[in-house]
Symmetry: C2
Subunit: 297 residues, 2 copies
């Protein structure tokens, strides 16, 4: 199946991470998992599965998975009536992450290369994810990632851009992961604008979740305006797009943001743990790898 894997972006001339055949069964699994968290009513869960099943034929290959995520998760909200199914999970994960905060800070203090350790911590926080089809064990996974080699490691380029800018745009991913992001923000020592989702989608961080992690103490929190599980530029608000288009350094956390922005020829650094074969293939690494990748390389 070599075809249909990438569509060609006429505007940038670059390949774009779009929907692969493998994504379709995953959409149904995601809908099921989200519905089961949103409600105990098996009739409603079945209705979500049925309606997402019927949607599959209308999902074009040339939209990114987070764009389909908008349809899926709004369907879950509509049918179950639950506007923020992961609310409790997000609060609990953030609380748990905050309990690790002193340990994380200590790791940075003791490191030879504090910036690198803080980047490791930020990517370790990306194990938190209730959207991907992967289970996680927070403490175990963090310790593993802190000692893992990066499969793509554009650290030199990152340091260079960081030293040349006075402002960093930071694209958040999941609630709880926000605490790990905070450690990186504090370590970079530059003014940071922290962009969160506009409305709850899966366990992605909103303003409320970022504030629970104390991000408001170390950065300016803004909404990107998106209602999808990724920074889909055409769904973002004008304020965010202006900021993004003028940014000299963007840190983009997680798979959803990668899927939405992988084609961008901009100073964006993708920092993520790879959680599915599709994203792994697109980057040219393996599932479970950790990545610090410049979009322009």
């Amino acid at each position: 199946m070599p075809q249909m894997r990438h569509s060609h972006d006429a505007r940038t001339g670059l390949n774009t991470m779009k929907t692969y055949l493998e994504c379709f069964p995953c959409f149904v699994s995601q809908a099921f998992r989200a519905a089961r968290i949103a409600t105990d009513d098996p009739e409603k869960i079945k209705q979500v599965i049925d309606e997402v099943g019927m949607m599959l034929k209308d999902i074009p290959f040339d939209t990114s998975p987070p764009e389909t995520g908008i349809l899926i998760y709004s369907k879950v909200r509509e049918i179950t009536g639950n506007q923020d199914p992961y609310s409790h999970i997000k609060a609990e994960t953030t609380k748990k992450a905050l309990s690790l905060y002193p340990f994380l800070k200590d790791q940075v203090e003791q490191a030879d290369d504090r910036l690198l350790m803080a980047i490791r911590i930020a990517v370790a926080g990306n194990v938190i994810d209730f959207g991907a089809n992967v289970e996680f064990d927070l403490e175990k996974d963090i310790n593993e990632i802190l000692n893992k080699d990066f499969a793509v490691f554009h650290y030199k380029e990152f340091k260079k851009l960081l030293s040349n800018t006075n402002e960093v745009l930071y694209l958040a991913d999941n609630a709880g992961e926000t605490v790990f992001d905070r450690v990186l923000i504090e370590t970079m020592g530059k003014p940071v604008t922290y962009a969160v989702r506009d409305v709850p989608v899966i366990n992605d961080a909103t303003r409320k979740d970022a504030m629970q992690a104390g991000i408001d103490k170390v950065a300016t929190i803004i909404s990107s305006g998106t209602d999808g599980p990724g920074t889909i530029l055409k769904r973002c608000n004008t304020e965010f797009r202006n900021l993004y288009n003028n940014a000299r350094l963007v840190i983009s956390k997680g798979q959803g943001n990668y899927e939405a922005l992988s084609h961008e020829n901009r100073p964006v650094f993708f920092l993520l743990k790879v959680k599915c074969n599709i994203v792994a293939t697109d980057i040219g690494v393996n599932t479970s790898d950790i990545v610090l990748k410049a979009a322009y390389i």
Copy 2:
């Protein structure tokens, strides 16, 4: 979600293993995997996904998963035009299993309890499965299972029925696994009727596959008449049903046969490796457990 998990069988008064909510995403994954093996054409694969997606709403909870399997795999055959997608895989797996045959026979020869070792070997062969959402490594998995404890172990009851009968009805599961079944058939030393699927479905054994494993040398091969990935009695032919209804000992291999016959209050012994949470929950064990379970206990 305690409801909808079991339907109540008015005829037998027993719970019946039917379709659970978790099965629906799995149906789409199965369709995708089968379509990908049946064809290289991404348009056809997408059509299979789309049509199975639209089918979900019409699948009742009170049919067993193998009954839905009939619909899914016939859809794969219809759209891809490939009547036996797993033909090559089945032949290769059987060839591989045959190369292990001397080792398996040796294990039986050296065992203190030869019948038990042969049962272990037969269940080890059940790791071969291209329908379940589990990958397998034949040699590694076999060695693991040969040393694993059974989670349900009605061995005493099995031996008792075996000593009291002069004929065993053996319900086959996958091609390749057939070689492992042959070792058990040879060890039991009783006349065996070996029932296979009537037409190719996933990698389930048909007459041709059983013959490649040499089953025709040690047992009478018959077709159960079913076109599903499980012995769905109402889809079986009269000859098989008569045999089944009069059998004093039935060995039923694998998940598909379990799903189709779990409600039977008959001298059926289910011998399988559990490959999904749903079957695990139904039996009351964990995924990856091995089971020798009498239907009537």
